[in-house]
Point group: none
DNA sequence: AGGTAAGTGGGAAATAGTGGGAAACGTAAG
DNA sequence: CTTACGTTTCCCACTATTTCCCACTTACCT
């Protein structure tokens, strides 16, 4: 399971080190796609296949036209990336700019995917979620944590 | 069952000794996550698996904004930590700063989890709860607990 | 009072992350 | 067809961080 948060640098050659902790689970090939809320998603190749099937299978769950748009963005923007010998991937310019990445990037494990955020945007986002304490507590209660 | 309160030091390498009393019940792997009211939660690995399963209940969750925020906090904020040979774990910087930890940490057993508090914040919090104790007791009585 | 267990701290070795340069490749112009 | 330039890919080296190991101190139990 992919969990945890790491701050890494993306350099002028668009190289990004994936945290060592994630490498074994990701394998050597990953897929980078546009994400939601201003981040990018990274899936292990296997997981991507599963997700892709699932997305095309969920046609009924939203309006047809919305579904088409979502799929075009997801699939059209997706890129295969090899993890090189020292654990880095290349993030193409168009994805890098979609996520407004400038230097420092937050690499966040969210169960079955990684998310890439511009560091500043990530911290703002996290702050917003944190302030919704009531909702958080309620959901934790539902799960049986509290 | 995890009960009791201990004050331990967290050093500049982010190492924190877990009280010996808790070690057997926790096993050798634990998961540290953001908690509520400014503390961190620690779960035994087994307990975390149970929680994660509850969280990943619905597959459509990725497509709903509230779920994304909640999952990002729960999974992105969580970290697996091995208890080393002398009973210490590493608390990553981002969690340490989320809980505003500075040197002394209160390690509190709360049934199925541990909570980590900055010592100062913990004592303030406990003071507030103490002052509300009468009201709490009355409520518990109404519910029929006491 | 001595022995054992627990908590704390520091140094050395290993690893991870970053950056730069050289080689390979492709493209375009001469 | 050749050459020059720009881009991409691969490889190496440096630095910072992390991890492991050992030693000291304190507290507790016998």
């Amino acid at each position: 399971m992919l969990i945890g948060e790491y701050i890494h640098a993306i350099d002028e050659k668009n190289r990004l080190s994936l945290p060592a902790k994630f490498r074994h689970e990701l394998g050597k090939k990953v897929v980078v796609t546009p994400g939601l809320d201003g981040c990018l998603f990274i899936f292990a190749e296997k997981e991507w296949v599963r997700i892709a099937e699932h997305l095309s299978g969920s046609e009924g769950s939203m309006l047809q036209s919305d579904n088409r748009g979502f799929n075009r963005r997801m699939f059209g923007g997706a890129v295969e990336a090899e993890i090189d010998s020292i654990g880095r991937i290349l993030v193409p310019d168009f994805l890098k700019s979609m996520a407004k990445m400038t230097g420092k990037v937050a690499v966040v494990g969210v169960k079955n995917r990684l998310e890439l955020w511009d560091e500043k945007i990530w911290h703002e986002y996290r702050g917003v979620v944190e302030r919704k304490a009531d909702q958080l507590a309620e959901r934790l209660g539902q799960i049986g944590i509290l």
